[in-house]
Symmetry: D5
Subunit: 119 residues, 10 copies
């Protein structure tokens, strides 16, 4: 499974300001755990940094690590949200995963990171 | 008539979080009850899951079951909303049905599921 | 002048729910009362039905009845709003008329139906 | 300089209703006061009419009158806003001027008319 | 490093009104400080002017001065925000930097200028 | 029926050269002779002029004259080709009529004018 | 199986001229003979008429007749080509079937009618 | 009238090779000689240079000189073709003038330069 | 390495006709042999069948088999061309591989199958 | 000046076949020799390889070397054509340079490599 330790960070160059950073990865691919067929997605990471920013090359390698993993759309999106939340401790964080059409469907799963657990 | 028992579910992998799942089906077709001519639509199912998520292949088969049914735009959209609401008991649910142009018109019908009845 | 009696209705199949119906007609044409030249528009009817929905074929015939009428953009949009408001007694109703470019201008006129008169 | 007296009006056909009229002119051109080179813009006039509506042909002639005027983006947008505000006494009015790319830049200037002066 | 003294201003022609000026530069390029490879961005400057507006040619020259600078996405966006904020003392200011795809990622960094420092 | 005498011409300003003139009318409408419903088309007139060019305003009025005529796609296209061929005696002439979707179909009919009759 | 007898014709209004008629149907659907899942296509019929033209409403009904037939892409395209060739005896005829994406593939099958058999 | 003497040239840097240069001007405007209303066009100059290439800034000034000239579409296109042909003596030259929609029409006029006069 | 034995065929339903079959796969991915990073491509297979057609599901599995192979753009395209040529013995065959942007480049490699070896 | 020695090659994996390789670089930038302002282009290299193919990373570095060079559109395109022609000795080679709009113009320069000198 994609190891969150791959993720590297660097110090936020403007911590005095709440500004928005948005990275969109156009080449995400994983494997359907039911059929073994490949799935493709565009993943957007949108966050307001706290002390650290995510280093882009390490984020790419983290996403590459899903290439041969069998994982559902909903679970992959939530794992990315949890791993980046833990690594960055951001002021806010949203993950938008846009899954390519399969069987006549396209799907979008959107999760927000929160330090407060719910229900 | 499309039987809601076709719909299958699997446990929500992140029930502690309110995240949004959106499936868009690009291949919906039914039949006009007046003329017998085919109608075509793109159906978006957008929801925040409760305990369960809808399984995508079963959702496709449920939509395929409308193929030879005579049903109005407004009625089809509300039936899908009711059937998915009953099957998923979601925290929230919206159905957006985008009907292809017919006689110079295109139509969009949008319904939200609510546990509270109105008026 | 386009006669609102052309408009037919059928019973709202889900009166217990406030859902949005939007019909967009792509083939509206009338005549400029100043020059006699044809005008073209796309007309969107967006409403929350009360007891009745508008029947689509009758709506098409109602729009066709403007074909040889001389009428200004602003007046046509407001007449459609008034006629549909009277015929449907909707919970809410908006008319968006998107007039094709003429003399280097394109125009959009948007009117909302209200049971309360203003000023 | 473009003379606001060119602007003609006609009585608002639905003064009892607050509805939105939006005219977009795709052929505005003026001259840069620094370099003498032509500037091109798309100008949107969006307003809620009071007693009168602007007559479209007179609006075109008013815009044509800028053709050989040397005027900055910011000043042209504000002059149009002032002239139409004075001529129409609208319930509300917004001017959006979308200036075509020049030196690698495209620019949008947006002004709202108000009867209350500011600062 | 791009020198903010390059930025020139001219008096706001309508200081009595809060109107929005938006300049988008389509030809920004700098250099990645890690790899030395070029980066490309579209930079949008959106502001409500105070006493002064930024002169467009000087803004172009200021952006050109980044051409051979090694600077991170996050730092460049914040420097532009700081330099324009200092030069213009605007009523409000937002910088949106849209970085072209690199390694399968596209990125958007958005910063707002404020006279109040944060945390 | 649209009268070809509406068509006016002016002398070709460059008869020494075979150059191509192409006028595309975006607002053609006629009536289906079977159902009485309106049809809409975009008509392209592409020709190499002989002694005369067609005057654009008269071409518009000629096309407007089809507004209430019942005529099939194939017949309208061939009539336009014949009428313009007779009026202009062009070195070459092609009519491309692009009919808007009706009953799920869009149609294109293309005819070339020739002084030689065929079969 | 879709019966070619559904196809009706009317006399070519300009048999003296070789002009091109192209009808594109945007709502073709049949069933995959292997999986029973629906297939969707856009079908273009491009021909030069001989004595007769195909009547558009009958062509629509002929295409509707494929709705519940199990048939491969290649076979459906060739059957349409054969049936229209037999019904119209056209001077030339091409069928272009553009099949919607399925399993990550989109497909186009193109066949031309000829009175001469090959190989 | 736009004076061809405005056009400047520089020596072709690769006269040993027949290569194609294509400049497209997106900001051409002239005046209709009948109505006095502005016309807008995109002008493409495509040529194979002989001894000289056209200098781009001078070409812009030459096009700007049409700004207040009353001239027909057909005549403007042929004048540009003649003036550039005379100034450049190119191995080949084509002018494509794409006139913006007016009265529901858009027009394209295309002329090729030739040293041999015709008819 | 992707094994051409995965490819299955079925008998051409219209061998008497030279018609064109084109399958475009939107989800091809392999690995760069230099860097180990993933490459993405859209692969079009265009052919005129001889005795057999390629079965679409087997073609998908054949393409999936490249997922973890290190192979250059040029070599992958030629291998697909060779493998399909051998399996189908088509009357003609073209492979068009459209590789997604990498390092600021996008690439297209196009190969045609021929029974005759060259040079 | 960009040194053609930067270009590296690797052996053509399918020299027995004439297939087409097309690399499009979306990030080319050089400097105008007149004004010192940056120019931007998309450069397409289309060739049929002889014994060697161009290595993509070296091609990127070769293009990067133009970043601070003052060079005209026509000269840059021909230099790239000459340098790649010399390095690859291809069976055929075309360079298409698509220069971004400047002063209201966009430009395309297209050159083909030939071993035979002309005129």
């Amino acid at each position: 499974m994609a190891d969150p330790k791959i993720l590297e960070t660097f110090p936020n160059p403007a911590p005095q300001r709440d500004y928005v950073i948005e990275h969109t990865h156009h080449e995400f691919t994983s494997v359907c755990p039911m059929t073994g067929h490949p799935d493709f997605a565009t993943i957007t990471v949108r966050y307001v940094a706290g002390k650290n920013c995510v280093e882009l090359k390490s984020l790419k390698l983290y996403f590459h690590a899903f290439r041969n993993e069998g994982i559902f759309f909903e679970a992959a999106t939530n794992k990315i949200c949890d791993d980046l939340g833990t690594a960055l401790k951001p002021r806010s964080l949203t993950i938008i995963a846009n899954w390519k059409a399969r069987g006549g469907f396209s799907s979008v799963v959107t999760a927000e990171y929160s330090t407060k657990k719910k229900r």
